[in-house]
Subunit: 481 residues, 2 copies
């Protein structure tokens, strides 16, 4: 029984070796699979189904704001990549180059897109003529390639899946508003659907996207106290428009440059779900994103009537729109329980002959392990309520954890001590100079995560934790994935 053996082997404890725990969960929950393509990953059905749910829900939210989907080529000719100076400097060192097509060398080499600003600008420069053509609110779902040296499933791999939105607007104000709007779409999605609390903020000059005027980010805290940048929204102003000649004739008959934004979220969110909610029994999926929300496990399955009742229950729940699965395999109930836990199904419903006789079932929550005996009358509502409760609890738990891991550092020694000893976010004042940011990174191995949109202003009279000059911002720092 290869499967059973796999499941029975304990996974590493989360608190003993977080990195190994992560690898174990990814493998044993069968989220990724083997490939001999170095640095890339195979996303298996259990992992891909989570991505499908992320995609569907985000896509719905995008479309509600007027966004339309498109598909652009995966290749970028070198000359196109080079048109925006900062952008090419940021990305050229980490792209994969195609130099041969069929049997002949290419006249101009092309990279596999690491991101598609240049291609969207290429399209917009031909497509946009008048203010009537604006705004353009395009998005694409695709994979991108960045030639990373060290990789980890979902968190950092040479190819990953994402969406990238690219918009063009008539005014700077509109572009700024869209940048903020999409940041909020990401933040709401993370909190409402993934049950992951996030801090909304702006990146410093040093940390912003190559070619952007301003980069906004949502930052989440993982269980090991490290930060994960979870979604970014960039305001390009008219920098790309000038580099690519994206102009339009405005209502006042003046020819102007458009103002652009881009924003993206990736498969690393699957990593975030694992690292925020998972525990020593495996994955824990928030109900709203879980491909399977409840698994029905018949007890004494071969006894007359048990399987039939379990099937009836499943149909009922399915008809009510609940994503339910019947586990009618020949494995033992204990094995099935362990599997439910490892794979992170939010709840299981146990149902044996005695339950059937008494018109009840047993609910077992994945998040707390709590068992409840529930009447089969109105079971749909009971399941729905339980799923809502689990969703709420996961968010509250993650938020309490996050909030209790935000530390304040008013002087460099405190900063150093916290950075060394207390994994989490650190709030500290900063003068705004890149030199201080670089010194902090070198000394303390933490980076500026963001200038929070709420609470990013300095306190009255505050000074930079590094140089002692007048503080400009109150920054959130941390070690990051």
């Amino acid at each position: 029984m290869a499967d059973e053996k796999k499941m029975v082997e304990a996974i590493t404890s989360r608190d003993v070796d977080f990195a190994q725990w992560y690898t174990d969960v990814v493998k044993k929950a069968e989220l990724t699979g083997y490939t001999s393509v170095k640095g890339c990953m195979v996303i298996k059905p259990a992992g891909y189904a989570i991505w499908e749910n992320i995609r569907n829900e985000l896509d719905r939210r995008f479309k509600e704001t007027g966004v339309e989907n498109v598909y652009l080529p995966m290749f970028i000719p070198e000359s196109l990549l080079e048109k925006e100076k900062d952008h090419v400097e940021g990305f050229a060192p980490e792209v994969a180059w195609v130099t041969q097509g069929g049997l002949t060398p290419l006249q101009e080499k092309m990279c596999v897109r690491p991101t598609s600003e240049t291609l969207f600008c290429d399209l917009y420069s031909k497509d946009i003529h008048s203010y009537r053509d604006l705004p353009r609110l395009y998005n694409q779902w695709c994979s991108v390639v960045r030639w990373e040296k060290t990789t980890r499933p979902f968190l950092r791999s040479r190819e990953f899946l994402w969406q990238e939105g690219h918009t063009a607007h008539a005014t700077a104000e509109e572009a700024a508003a869209r940048t903020e709007q999409m940041l909020n779409v990401y933040a709401d999605f993370c909190e409402e659907v993934l049950a992951i609390p996030v801090v909304r903020g702006r990146k410093t000059e040093k940390e912003k996207f190559a070619g952007a005027e301003a980069t906004y980010t949502i930052e989440a805290l993982m269980h090991d106290g490290k930060a994960l940048q979870s979604g970014t929204s960039h305001n390009f102003g008219d920098g790309f428009a000038k580099a690519f000649g994206v102009q339009f004739t405005d209502r006042d008959n003046q020819v102007k440059y458009v103002h652009q934004t881009s924003w993206g979220m990736t498969t690393r969110m699957i990593g975030a779900i694992i690292m925020v909610h998972g525990d020593d029994s495996g994955l824990v999926l928030p109900p709203r994103i879980a491909p399977i929300q409840a698994v029905v496990i018949p007890i004494q399955m071969r006894k007359e009537g048990v399987l039939a009742e379990a099937e009836k229950l499943c149909r009922k729940l399915k008809d009510a729109g609940i994503r339910v699965k019947l586990d009618d395999t020949d494995k033992s109930p204990g094995w099935k329980f362990a599997e439910q836990e490892m794979r992170g199904f939010p709840m299981r419903i146990e149902m044996g002959p005695r339950d059937i006789a008494s018109g009840t079932v047993v609910f077992v929550r994945r998040d707390t392990g709590e068992k409840t005996v529930v009447s089969v009358e109105n079971i749909e509502d009971a399941v729905r309520n339980m799923l809502d409760e689990i969703q709420r609890n996961l968010f509250e738990k993650a938020k309490a954890f996050r909030d209790s891991h935000i530390y304040e550092a008013d002087d460099y020694e405190t900063f150093r001590r916290i950075a060394d000893e207390q994994p989490g976010f650190i709030r500290a004042h900063w003068c705004g100079e890149t030199s201080c940011e670089e010194k902090i990174k070198e000394d303390l191995a933490v980076t500026s995560r963001c200038i929070p949109l709420k609470g990013g202003e300095p306190e009255e009279g505050a000074v930079c934790v590094c140089c002692g000059k007048k503080a400009k911002y109150r920054v959130l720092w941390g070690k990051a994935y």
Copy 2:
């Protein structure tokens, strides 16, 4: 008014220059857009929304048969591509090679996947151990690259979107059954959803997929009499399994090779929709695949109450699950009518002050141009019935066209005359020898499209139309995209 000008310019007549007509429709219906990446295409919102509907509906049908989605790397190391002899010979001349990652040359070059058999085999060889691990029914949605010399939007481009299913089974029978099952999924999808009649058949040895034991195909006839291969399903037997060492321990404790299949459908189906249903006014979308099924066009829109009534109607139809759009732009009604036609929305609903006074609206069908005055009572049912009727009519029309363009050739001179003068499918007997197939291709510029599953057996005593020897099959021939 750049937009208005674009729409008013007539498109080339379908019967005057079919290729130019196709290009015009693709451009003016805004299905594709500009890119400077040679041989690739930009799929714009109107085109991508069709692909999303194709994907959603096919995906639903796949999942009903137990298929699960996964995602595999886009790169194939050269050594992996080379493992199956026929496969590498078929694909190596047309792949794009990545030779540099970041700033350093790769030790082993990798191609961008032209198809992923080799990657799935690589995964399966590590993932499958026991009969309990079978069947594996995986599919992925992605883009693939083939370095074509001449390209046309949707029909042939260096990168295109598709799905590729890859299954592994314990027995040859199961693999054969899955090959046929997926061919039928494709055929039913084409006929029921795209309103495109297809012939199900088997490819000859010469035309089959590189590395397959048998390739099955569905072939559709375009309006210019050329065939379009619309979906293929391959039975690999255990050829790939032997090349990649994909083995399992069966119930009888014997170690055996798996049997595999693969099957794919691509964005070229958007080309098929255009070329089967389109006319001199532009695109015609079958209702079941149309992103917008009905457009509501208010007449004398600025008159008191007209817009409000039109909005009310739209909400009503939306609530009934109909994909409806209100055109409340400042363009003239005539312009809006032309646009509905160009973009292929299946019907429009005109609504002016007089209609509102009499409690009616006007339906105008895209397929026939017919106008009907309809009461707003039960308008949801009326729209639904009209859409069903349009769907049915489009299929019937396409089928009648197809059936009237199948010709019989019992001797070579008739074959030559039909091939020269009568665009369409040609049914002709064949001995089964590749040499005859090659001669026919060279002489008459037609290729064997398939040996139809129904009607592919030879008639009693029939002889090969080329060499006069005993016929083995009755083949469908044609010019193809």
